[in-house]
């Protein structure tokens, strides 16, 4: 499952990052293995996506989100 498959409002935890050219930047921005991410919303045109990570809002494109492997965290009821 990749970050792209997570719907707005859902949370997930990073398992691996397979991005090419922005890899270092994505890691430096705090997206490391084990980090919890909340997907906040999609841009009006469906791409990029806004995520909440380490207390701030980051926007990345779907093409990068597809390269980030995650596990979905099921909402507690």
């Amino acid at each position: 499952m990749t970050l792209r498959d997570i719907l707005p409002g859902e949370q997930c935890i990073i398992k691996g990052i397979y991005v090419n050219n922005l890899r270092k930047r994505i890691i430096d921005m705090g997206l490391t293995t084990g980090t919890v991410i909340t997907v906040k919303k999609l841009a009006p045109l469906g791409d990029p996506i806004e995520i909440h990570v380490r207390g701030y809002s980051l926007t990345i494109r779907n093409s990068e989100a597809r390269m980030i492997e995650v596990d979905k965290i099921e909402a507690k009821r």
């Binding site: 270092k24 806004e50 990345i60």
Partner: protein, 732 residues
């Protein structure tokens, strides 16, 4: 002199702090990447004096864009006496990442903890002493935009014994072992840490001997096997782990649930359905306020004032009884020209004012977020939207703003298409022609010029991406800053800074241009003698001669008088002067730029609507003014690219004007049949193309992933390649 560098994340308040410390009026905005060049200023506190350098914001010492490289290089290479690391307290976790990278260096450091007001508002609490103990450097709480804590920071810097600062930060055991190995080869711990993170890129400038390079590659290969996770993630992971521990210790979150203002605003402004229409409305609104009835009314008042002043000056000069050429120079050359430019100021200020509000509030970043999908189609990143939007005001700051883009190719493409976007200086040209010839359709005609500029810019971007700058893929990763209400002071400062830039340009480059134009148009040979000409003798002037000489080239695009050619020529010096020159050439007295109606009569007599439209098109698309050209040269940083860009713009301007003029001259029937033929050709072309182009391009190395654009496997870096050859050598 003691040198102090300000370092911190983008949008963490560095420029605001810089202004607070030095009293300088730096431009401050609320979108990541406002400072595009390092700037320096002086601070004084009693008898303490120091030079402060404001660097572009960086998230990390590993850089991906030019502006970040400037900052990172500066911090790593130059031995600063002190680094003030500004940390956004409301975003502690991410901001401390850079802090920990900086702590690896030996440079003395202070942390300025900014945005304490937001922490208070959230009812959170940060234990400053505990943070100091963890970081082992002094921490000073400040609120830069409210000027709180600046004095304390200043007196601390003045008395701080930075030379004796010591700190000892250790990573976890296995990492420290690797760093020790690297340090023994490289001789410097900081360099070893940089090498750990960035690979060979970090030691490029260290000029290592070949055997040392071999040794370090060996050590790298050896170390990489020791960790379960990817090697480049080892350090960041460890750092973030430490940061979380620190945050848990020092930061107490309030028990009251805090729903941020930003979230509420964004639920509307970047809403799934509302986001795009609101964006359109905001852009249209700014545009309407600047160039619609309100802007025009303010401009008219302003111009009436200027006209009054100039008429007084004119009368004064005449009464002095100076030589005829002197009074001509003063009234026609200097003041006539300056009035033309300055009269344009109110509209520009309104535009700058609203751009400042959009920047300061944080909406610009949202605009990039909303527009990214669209701009990517043209090979640009959403971030390119910001420079392009500024381009509607003036190309010069727009081109400077391209430095926030991550890749060189993206910067080139954006810089080269900005001149096509109709800048504020071109507006008076449309005003005069559309008003004179298109009457109640004049608004539509002006709008069509803006649209034409955008279309040509977009098509050029696509063309560049498909041909000469294929590698331009435009990365996108951007932080959305919290919304802030723009402060009046900042907004006016911003507006004033940009307007000042425009006025200085008017006073220097443009004044010179107007004097040259005056000389060219009031001097010439009549019956073999070179002398000052009267107004009605302008045909004999030097400018007239050049215009006549060039006329044949311009005839196919509808120029039938040397006066048009001359006006366009002066536009290369400054677009603002095109209308002013027309005024001089058609012998109109008074301020023609803002009181365009004065020019309506002569223009109606001299131009057909088709000719006027072709003239406007050429003025829109042809090479921009000298100030923009110098900015373009600076940003492209190569004479080859600069020459190409200028030639490209000239050719495009000529061809588009040619097509428009020739089409506009046709009778309706002929026009429609040509349109029909083009449509048929287009349909045939696209049908054929659909059959030829393969559906979905797979990278080739593996066919299973089904990704069209990019391969999922990490690309081989230069480092990996070197490592591989090294391994092959070992086998031999």
């Amino acid at each position: 002199m003691i040198r102090i560098a300000l370092a911190g994340n983008p949008n963490s308040g560095k420029s605001t702090l810089f202004n607070g410390l030095t009293g300088a009026n730096q431009s401050v905005g609320n979108w990541p990447g406002v400072t595009v060049e390092k700037k320096s200023g002086r601070i004084k506190h009693h008898d303490f004096e120091a030079e402060v350098i404001d660097l572009p914001g960086i998230y990390s010492l590993s850089t991906i864009s030019l502006e970040e490289e400037i900052a990172s290089k500066y911090i790593i290479d130059s031995n600063m006496d002190l680094i003030i690391n500004i940390v956004d307290a409301s975003n502690l976790e991410r901001n401390l990442y850079l802090t920990y990278q900086l702590l690896d260096s030996k440079a003395p450091m202070i942390v300025a903890l900014n945005c304490m007001d937001i922490i208070q508002k959230k009812l959170d609490n940060i234990d400053i002493q505990a943070l100091e103990a963890e970081l082992q450097v002094p921490v000073i709480p400040i609120t830069a935009n409210k000027k709180q804590g600046i004095k304390e920071l200043l007196s601390f810097i003045a008395t701080f014994d930075y030379k004796n600062q010591t700190r000892d930060h250790r990573y976890s055991e296995p990492i420290e072992n690797v760093i020790t190995d690297f340090t023994s080869i490289l001789g410097d711990r900081f360099l070893a840490v940089r090498f750990f993170e960035d690979g060979l890129k970090a030691i490029e400038s260290a000029n290592l001997k070949p055997e040392s390079v071999n040794k370090i590659l060996e050590a790298h290969r050896c170390a990489a096997g020791k960790f379960a996770i990817d090697f480049d993630m080892v350090l960041p992971n460890d750092r973030y782990d430490r940061i979380i521990t620190v945050c848990n210790k020092v930061l107490t979150k309030s028990s009251v649930a805090y729903v941020s203002k930003t979230e509420k605003i964004d639920s509307i402004l970047t809403h799934k359905w509302l986001g795009l229409p609101i964006f359109g409305l905001i852009m249209l609104g700014v545009f309407f306020l600047a160039f619609g009835p309100i802007g025009t009314t303010i401009t008219n008042w302003f111009v009436m004032g200027i006209d009054w002043v100039i008429s007084k000056i004119g009368a004064g000069v005449d009464s002095l009884g100076m030589a005829s050429w002197v009074s001509s120079l003063i009234t026609n050359g200097v003041f006539g020209g300056l009035a033309a430019v300055v009269g344009f100021l109110p509209q520009l200020m309104i535009l700058f004012f609203f751009l400042a509000i959009l920047e300061d509030s944080g909406y610009m970043a949202r605009a990039a977020f909303i527009m990214d999908r669209v701009l990517r189609k043209f090979g640009l990143s959403g971030k390119a939207f910001i420079p392009m939007l500024i381009g509607f005001g003036c190309s010069v700051p727009a081109m400077t703003a391209t430095r926030t883009l991550d890749r060189d190719e993206d910067r080139k493409v954006t810089t080269m298409i900005i001149p096509f976007i109709s800048c504020g200086a071109k507006a008076p040209i449309y005003g005069v022609f559309a008003g004179a010839l298109f009457f109640r359709y004049s608004y539509l005609i002006v709008f069509s010029m803006y649209l034409l500029g955008i279309i040509v810019a977009i098509l050029s971007a696509i063309l560049f991406k498909k041909t000469i700058l294929k590698s331009a893929s435009a990365n996108y990763i951007m932080e959305l800053p919290e919304y802030r209400s723009p402060t009046a002071k900042n907004t006016f400062l911003h507006t004033w800074e940009r307007s000042k830039g425009f006025l200085i340009k008017a006073g220097t480059v443009l004044l010179g241009a107007f004097i040259i134009i005056w000389f060219f148009s009031y001097f010439g040979f009549v019956d073999g003698t070179f002398r000052l000409l009267a107004d009605e003798e302008i045909e004999h002037s030097i400018l007239g001669a050049i215009g006549k000489f060039l006329l044949p080239i311009f005839q196919p695009i509808g120029f039938d008088s040397w006066k048009s050619t001359v006006a366009i020529l002066t536009g290369f010096i400054a677009k603002e002067s095109v209308v002013g020159t027309l005024g001089i050439l058609y012998g109109v007295t008074g301020n023609v730029v803002d009181n365009g109606t004065l020019l309506f009569e002569p223009i109606r007599a001299a131009f057909t609507p088709a000719q006027a439209y072709a003239f406007m098109t050429f003025a829109l698309l042809a090479t921009p003014c000298i100030a923009a050209l110098s900015a373009m040269r600076k940003e492209l940083n190569s004479w080859k690219w600069f020459t190409f860009a200028v030639a490209y713009e000239m050719i495009v301007a000529y061809l588009v004007s040619l097509v428009i003029y020739q089409l506009a001259r046709l009778e309706l029937g002929t026009f429609l049949s040509i349109l029909f033929a083009i449509m048929v050709l287009a349909i045939v072309f696209f049908t054929i193309r659909r059959f030829i182009v393969r559906k979905g391009v797979v990278c080739g190395s593996c066919t299973s992933c089904g990704l069209k654009d990019e391969c999922a496997l990490p690309k081989k870096t230069e480092f990996d390649a070197l490592l591989e050859t090294k391994q092959k050598d070992d086998v031999k």
